[in-house]
């Protein structure tokens, strides 16, 4: 047996286990009394009451067994650019919004978008670490953060005097080539975490038909043009949704609209989400029964 190999193991055991911040690699020093959970927006104000109806956290989500923020240092926790105040009710932006008013000729096929954070430089870096450097340790953190946007989606429903509810979660697909290279679809992983916390089923309803060049390389006009036919609904999407109607309301399947939450990592112009929503609406009959909401981790 290899001696130095065992020696290395011994070293690993003897070395003091200092917690290192996932994002900045510095040791985490927690000051006395400081609680990383105070950076968790749910920890600060757990309940939201609006129009007499209340949205309690405990009724919506299960508490994480180990809080994902424990892996971040104080300095990095401060970097989370939460969108707490929403200026644009359509895209969920925290600042004024020319995009949504400019959309004009292009129809919007989804109700509205909510994002957890602004796409600030540090947030951009985190996503890049996860998505491009493929450091999947970020997933539990980003996924938990996305839950804040889920809360915002329901809160908006409440403001529109609807009962807060999502029936099904789906996600923006990546191409098969990308999936093979990366080994995961970031939107799907985020969707699955939100779904797990919120106890909502996840289904794959969309597919990506071709590889598109990087979004950021193109102008807005090009982007929208390019989105045509990139996505389509999977073959049995309609069937899947119809059966869900029946499960939800076996006696009168037509009485209710089905609320689908579409998940993606970043919302830039909304063209991806809109193209996906369009395809979903096209695939289902009758259309009026479908309401599509968008959840993205970041709003750029």
């Amino acid at each position: 047996m290899n001696f130095s190999h065992w020696l290395a193991k011994l070293y690993a055991l003897l070395a003091p286990k200092t917690e290192v911040c996932l994002a900045c690699n510095r040791p985490i020093h927690r000051q006395q009394g400081a609680d990383f959970r105070r950076y968790d927006p749910f920890f600060q104000n757990t309940d939201s009451t609006l129009h007499g109806a209340s949205l309690t956290r405990s009724s919506l989500f299960t508490r994480p067994t180990e809080h994902p923020f424990i892996n971040l240092c104080e300095a990095c926790l401060c970097q989370m650019a939460w969108i707490r105040i929403i200026r644009c009710p359509i895209c969920g932006r925290a600042i004024g919004c020319p995009d949504c008013t400019r959309r004009g000729s292009e129809r919007t096929y989804f109700q509205y978008n909510r994002s957890a954070v602004q796409y600030s430089p540090p947030m951009r870096e985190w996503l890049a670490q996860y998505k491009f450097r493929e450091n999947e340790r970020y997933l539990s953190i980003l996924g938990y953060m996305a839950l804040f946007a889920y809360h915002q989606v329901l809160l908006q429903q409440l403001m529109y005097k609807q009962s807060p509810r999502i029936d099904l979660i789906t996600y923006v697909p990546v191409s098969e080539t990308r999936l093979q290279e990366r080994g995961f679809n970031q939107a799907e992983q985020l969707a699955r975490i939100v779904a797990q916390y919120a106890h909502v089923p996840v289904q794959s309803l969309l597919q990506r038909n071709r590889h598109t060049i990087k979004q950021s390389m193109k102008s807005r006009g090009n982007r929208i043009e390019d989105m045509k036919d990139v996505f389509s609904a999977v073959n049995n999407a309609n069937h899947q949704l119809q059966s869900l109607f029946k499960i939800r309301n076996p006696n009168n399947p037509d009485s209710q609209t089905l609320r689908i939450l579409l998940v993606d990592d970043v919302y830039t112009t909304g063209s991806t989400i809109n193209a996906c929503a369009h395809q979903l609406k096209k695939s289902i009959d009758p259309v009026h029964k479908l309401e599509i909401y968008s959840l993205t981790w970041a709003r750029s």
Binding site: A8, A15, R133, E134, N135, E136, Q180, E181, G183
Partner: protein, 661 residues
């Protein structure tokens, strides 16, 4: 990724392989059949002739790469069959049947007569597609045409030559192809890689592979995962669900993640070195003629001590390496300020003259950037490749490679001589990874030269036991002895910061240094104390500029520049500046020198900041601490020892008294 596994009957023996593109393998092993076209009535003798395999047994669906690599490695010389395949797959990936359908594991025969028939009706690829899932690569034209086959062979030769000596992940292979004029072929890179693999030009492996824990039968089946790129073990792997292979717990390596993701099902390509025998033989002949040119002192203007050490190292390189000894090593133990860069020039020149590859590696990027122009200047007729994170020369080929140790992970058996500078400049836990990478980058018959002022303890032990050939350079280039650290007993710094006073003894020493016009390095152990200590010093020395910096300081660069320019006189710092920054006239104060954070090596390095210039060779070094501990004792012993050797060997300049007598 997933691949097919097959075994083929070739020259009376079964050979097991896996394939990224089955068309290549069928075309390759049945090439005679293809060349002859339709020959329905051919005799049996033709079928078994040397250039045509009679049959090939292949899995009907793809299996995860890591598992396939293990299975192929274990299979031996028998025909592929299901039962053993299932067993070996389970050995390779325990629990695989929980997520990989048992019913998917089947094998089928492809006979040469079948292939003939299909060629005859011109449907081979279309036909096979139905029988084998997926497709290996994208080719516009059929591989079965002789012209396309020849083109593929030529392109795969080109690719193999480029990959030679490298260890690359799939996306790196594609990047390399794009950089090497094969950008049109990136779409069918799998086809070319497969062709190079069956022709033995590259090895295909999985990024993370299993190794057996022992030779005994009980332990042989106990396996452990290891990253083949950085050598890390399972403790540094993280398992996640993987869409590329279907494994819900597909391991990836976190230790080398910054260099791209190595994982259980990720392809790792090792380019087997292409020996250019003719060229190197000629090189040796030429080198023999020009032997005098490698006399170090003359060509490189070395001092006597440098010359002697360099000659010893050259002698080590000239010896034929014993086949049994793995990677023979030589240590150049040169004190701080000895001028080690000049000493490696003769070694580089020697290697280049023999037409061999030389690598200079160091853990530190700033050393790479500093060394690059000096090497380029010393060897203007040779191509220098400089590699570090973000370097643009990643895919360039050259004669001399200068690289950070992390970049070595992308090499495999490439270099004949590997010179490792300041291997000890990295914390111990990273050393294993870097050593693995360095060993892998070196050819099996290659040689290592280590350069250090403070070799790590295991290496010093080898030196003492006479197991590690070495040469000491005990003197600085200016031929003055190293300043020996003085002891100053004071309480821990924490105590003085609380009371906002400094002890008289320390203040006296500080003033003495300030008055003699020196610049002062003040090393401390805690980043948090920097600011308070700077404030306190400013209180006592109000007229001079005093600054403090640490690894967490964003303005570190500017502060160091100001110190270098002489704009600030005192710099309070943690060990991050123990190497690299050289100031002509400087004194060194190591506060809390008894701290466990300072080992003998870092004390020697910090002390090495003083007395670097020939105009001020005797700077002061003070170990300020309450205790006189082992590390301090060892550091002083090392410094005094080096001075003694220097004196004994006559390297030191005669002192004034010696001169006058």
């Amino acid at each position: 990724m997933r691949v097919y596994v097959y075994s083929v009957l070739w020259q009376g023996k079964w050979r097991c392989r896996f394939t990224l593109d089955w068309r290549v393998d069928v075309r390759y092993w049945f090439s005679q059949a293809v060349a002859n076209g339709v020959r329905e009535n051919s005799s049996h003798a033709d079928v078994t002739n040397e250039r045509c395999a009679p049959e090939l047994w292949i899995t009907t669906c793809c299996i995860p790469l890591g598992t396939a690599v293990d299975v192929v490695g274990q299979w031996g010389e028998s025909r592929l069959e299901v039962q053993r395949l299932v067993k070996l797959m389970q050995d390779a990936e325990p629990g695989i049947l929980d997520w990989f359908g048992r019913e998917c594991i089947q094998v089928r025969r492809i006979g040469v007569e079948e292939v003939w028939r299909e060629i005859g009706i011109g449907v081979i690829e279309e036909h096979r597609k139905g029988k084998l899932e997926g497709e290996g690569g994208i080719l516009k034209e059929s591989l079965w045409s002789d012209a396309v086959w020849k083109q593929m062979k030529d392109e795969s030769d080109l690719l193999a030559a480029q990959i030679s000596g490298r260890a690359l992940l799939a996306n790196e292979v594609q990047e390399l192809m794009a950089a090497a004029g094969l950008d049109h072929a990136v779409a069918y890179w799998r086809t070319l890689a497969q062709l190079a693999y069956i022709r033995g030009q590259v090895k295909l492996l999985s990024g993370i592979t299993t190794r057996s824990l022992g030779q005994f039968s009980l332990l042989r089946r106990q396996r452990e995962l290891q990253c083949l790129r950085c050598g890390s073990s399972a403790a540094q792997h993280h398992r996640t669900a993987c869409a590329a292979c279907g494994n819900p717990g597909c391991a990836y390596c976190e230790a080398c993640l910054a260099m791209g993701r190595s994982r259980r099902c990720a392809l790792l390509v090792h380019g087997t070195a292409v020996h250019n025998a003719g060229a190197s033989a000629a090189g040796v002949a030429r080198a023999a003629e020009r032997a005098p040119a490698t006399e170090p002192a003359a060509r490189w203007r070395l001092s006597e001590a440098q010359h002697d050490a360099s000659r010893a190292a050259l002698h080590f390189l000239q010896q034929p390496s014993a086949a049994a000894a793995a990677a023979p090593s030589f240590l150049l133990w040169a004190v701080t300020g000895a001028g080690k860069t000049e000493m490696i020039f003769p070694l580089i020149a020697y290697t280049l003259e023999r037409g061999q590859h030389v690598l200079i590696a160091t853990p530190r990027r700033d050393v790479v950037l500093e060394l690059a122009p000096r090497l380029a200047q010393a060897f203007p007729e040779h191509r220098l490749v400089t590699l570090y994170g973000g370097s643009e020369e990643r895919w360039t080929a050259g004669d001399i490679t200068l690289s950070t140790t992390h970049q070595l992970m992308r090499f495999y058996h490439k270099f004949d001589v590997v010179i490792v500078d300041e291997l000890d400049a990295f914390p111990y836990h990273n050393n294993e990874l870097l050593q693995y990478a360095a060993r892998k980058a070196c050819k099996p018959e290659g040689k290592f030269i280590f350069l250090s002022a403070t070799p790590p303890e295991p290496m010093q032990r080898e030196v003492r036991r006479g197991r590690l050939p070495h040469a000491k350079v005990p003197v600085r280039f200016h031929r003055h002895p190293l300043p020996v650290p003085q002891r100053l007993t004071i309480k821990p710094l924490r105590h003085y910061l609380e009371n906002k006073t400094l002890p008289k003894s320390l203040l006296h020493q500080l003033s003495r240094s300030v008055e003699r016009g020196a610049q002062l390095f003040l090393f401390i152990t805690r980043i948090k104390q920097t600011e308070a200590f700077v404030q306190l010093l400013r209180h006592y020395f109000p007229v001079i500029t005093i600054e403090g910096t640490s690894s967490e300081d964003k303005e570190r660069g500017e502060k160091v520049t100001r110190f270098r320019n002489g704009q600030s006189r005192m710099l309070v710092t943690t060990t991050i500046l123990e190497r690299g920054v050289t100031i002509p006239k400087s004194d060194v104060f190591i506060i809390d020198a008894d701290s466990a954070l300072f080992d003998a090596a870092s004390l020697v390095q910090m002390a090495g900041r003083a007395g670097r210039s020939k105009d001020d060779p005797a700077g002061h070094v003070l170990f300020c601490a309450a205790e006189w501990n082992r590390a301090q004792r060892l550091a002083v012993r090392q410094i005094v020892g080096m001075n003694r050797i220097a004196r004994r060997q006559g390297y030191l300049l005669p002192t004034d008294t010696e001169r006058s007598s």
